[in-house]
Amino acid sequence: MNDVNWMDALRQTLAAESIAIESISEVPAVNSGKAAIWRIIDTDWQKLAEQAQTHKLRWSAGWAEQDDDCFIVHALFENQGTYLWTQTLIPLAKPELPSQATVYPAANRSERHTQDMFGIKFSGHPDKRHWTRHKAWGKHDYPLRKDFAVAGQPEHITPPDMDYAFVKSHGAGTYEIPVGPVHAGIIEPGHFRFQAVGELILNLEERLAYTHKGIEKIAEGRTPESLARLAGRVSGDTTVSHAWAACMAMEQAAAVTIPPRAALLRGILAERERVANHLGDLGAICNDVGFSFAQMQFSRLREDWLRTQANIFGHRLLMDCVIPGGVKSDITDADCADIKQGIIQLRNELTDIITALDLNSSLEDRLYTAGLLSTDIAAAYGTLGYVGRASGQDFDVRRDAPYPPYHQVTVKVAFENQGDIASRFWIRYKEIMASMKLIAQFMALLEPGDIAAAWQVPTPGSSGLGIVDGWRGEIVSYVRFTAENSIARFYPRDPSQLNWPALEKLVLNNIVPDFPVCNKSLNGSYSGNDL
């Protein structure tokens, strides 16, 4: 009941501030929780954010799209599990909008992305620099506008992006360390610019978008099946959750309700993905402090887990298992028995390893109090998933805005508030344990039935919003159809987009050689951020 209260209160405040809500509608609750859609006048865009801030709304996602005669800019807010989806129209001729990033730092990179891709100017934005745009496009070419060809206008050689104005430090003894985008290890590309004095980090700036693949552009014109496949490739380690979010959005637009068995299977897939990734991360965090014994053990456990997935679902990382309307393949009782066996084995082995790690003081010395992210900063940047939950942000879509199958079970959300690397380590361990319980519960609830609903062609122009909890946190996926069952706009918001800025804050006052483990404890997706 609380939920309705903040929305009514916000509406009253907006009325008092004479900010007009042009229209109010609701998102149809197909396969997801409820959300209200408010349409606002463009000049009130920033004032809306200010009022949302005073009502403690969390800024969740922002994106734009081009309609026939205007741009539509969207911003999604959340509080206590209820979503407020705000939209505004701006003319094609004069694409300008007051920035919300002045109020919500979380909106900073998102607005710069929109500015780079659509040429929509956000007035008053605190950061004038490009973000996703390096040098691949001409000065007045905006790749997501309708007049830009899908194939792009590739030049023979993309000029180097050399004039990005990093923050500089001055003074005796301060120096700059450029790291990446090519690293000594095999990881995704990203550039990190440190300002340091001795070994102490004074400032860190990230420069990402080296893995920009044009996901949003190449989504245009696809069929639902093809979009689900594309969504599964936004970030390879989050293939189930991204595909699920995209399918949820499409199902909402087409008013397709998935069968209960499909929902449960999707739940099993998503939780398995969470366990696999957390296992990898636990090992990687240990390896980054030179404790490779633990990494080898966790790698082995993850490998066993992945092999079970390959046997049962046909793909180690579960790619393309989620399809519009349901899931691709069913599981048998024998598969369920295998899964149960795997869970028992993992639980036993994990308990042994974790006990050994817990007793290791040299490991403890590295993980505790390092990479501290305070509750306030975590809240200001809207950090999600294990990063947020380790720093006092008690939010989980599965519990707070449940979608099938999570409405059938009680989701226990791991929570810590120390905010250091150790917190993020233990949160992952707790989430693995909780996920294994959820998988068992979902299997117990399985009833014979269809695993996919028949697809219905959505009405032209219909749109949907999929919000699921991936292993990194809340994923938001927006889909709008044109006529003929084809996609007009797809925007996936990976949780990494909101977690990456937190890294710039949590490394402050740490020393340079502790950066890798700080980074690994956050483990943002470069691909999911760069799109």
Binding site: Y175, E176, I177, P178, V179, H183, A184, G185, I186, E199, C286, D288, V289, G290, F291, S292, F293, M296, Q297, R300, N360, S362, L363, D365, R366, A370, I511, V512, P513, D514, F515, P516
Partner: protein, 314 residues
């Protein structure tokens, strides 16, 4: 004849160093439940690197291209003055333990210069860290070595080892302290966990690896080989100074082969101990290294004090 033996011993030293690294890696892999690469893998890696064309940065000066040779030569010279299988060789008489520390410092000086030479951020960072650590490690090492030389009344390694052999197996507190100090210094100087991680790919955490990040081809092969030599040098120092039994005192074939077998056995055991410790502990935070090396210095100092108080008066 004796000079020939000295040359053979040095060549043996140089030839066996990659094998020790291979053995260490083999032990570590098995302790981590992994399949291990062949013991000969370090040789194959060196061979592979020598076949590759070295890539040299545009702005590199002669320091960068010559340093690998200087570093490698310094290590070979250091190996020539450390008794491996026999004492009393003429090469050992020509230099003492302070010269040995000097060889290490000389090699490090050029490696650090080479790290700075190409002007990348990592090279400079690695050099700066290496010099910080060595400035703390060197006094600790000298303190440990001086304890030994005070007992033997000589700075010559060969004579000192003979002195220990003649004394017989006596438990000397000063030696125990000095041995632990030298072990701690050896771990820091050879870039092992918990001070540095030789297997890391994380450029920001590197110390030794950061300095040599720009090296490739035969340059890299020489530097790798020099590091393997350094590891073996410290191993032999610890094994032969504190537990010299088995080392050849005459030059008969039997004594020499016995000496060779015992040093291989001793190094094998030391490598197992190192592998176990590297499996058990995580790398420490960089700013803990000073505490670690101060502790090594303190042990050296305690060894010296206990020598003066307990042993020298008798």
């Amino acid at each position: 004849m004796n000079w020939l033996l000295a040359v053979i011993q040095t060549m043996l030293f140089v030839a066996l160093a990659p094998l020790l690294s291979g053995w260490l890696k083999w032990c570590k892999c098995h302790l981590q439940n992994r399949k291990a690469p062949s013991l000969l893998q370090p040789y194959r890696n060196l061979l592979k690197l020598t076949r590759k064309q070295p890539v040299v940065a545009e702005h590199a000066s002669w320091i960068f291209t010559k340093s690998p040779y200087i570093v490698f030569s310094a290590m070979v010279l250091a190996a020539s003055v450390v008794p491996l299988i026999a004492v009393d060789l003429p090469s050992a008489a020509s230099a003492d333990v302070i010269v040995l520390v000097g060889f290490f410092a000389f090699a490090r000086f050029f490696l650090a210069l080479a790290g700075l030479d190409i002007g990348t951020a990592f090279g400079g960072m690695g050099s700066s860290r290496e010099m910080t650590i060595s400035s703390l490690a060197e006094p600790a090492m000298l303190m440990a070595v001086f304890t030994l030389t005070m007992t033997a009344s000589t700075t010559n390694l060969s004579l000192a080892i003979e002195h220990v052999l003649h004394e017989g197996l006596v438990l000397r507190p000063s030696f125990v302290f000095a041995m632990f100090a030298l072990i701690l210094v050896a771990i820091a100087e050879t870039g092992r966990i918990p001070v540095d991680n030789p297997a890391t790919h994380l450029e920001l955490t590197m110390i030794h690896e950061a300095m040599i990040l720009e090296y490739s081809g035969r340059h890299l092969a020489l530097i790798e080989w020099a590091s393997q030599l350094k590891l073996m040098l410290y191993g032999v120092l610890i094994a032969n100074i504190f537990l010299p039994w088995g080392i050849a005192q005459g030059f008969s074939a039997q004594a020499l082969s016995y000496g060779l077998l015992t040093i291989i056995g001793k190094l094998g055991v030391l490598a197992i101990l190192l592998a176990i410790s590297e499996t058990l502990v995580a790398k420490m935070r960089l700013f803990r290294v000073q505490e670690y090396l101060s502790f090594a210095y303190l042990l050296g100092l305690l060894g010296m004090l206990s020598h003066i108080i307990l042993e020298a008066s008798r």
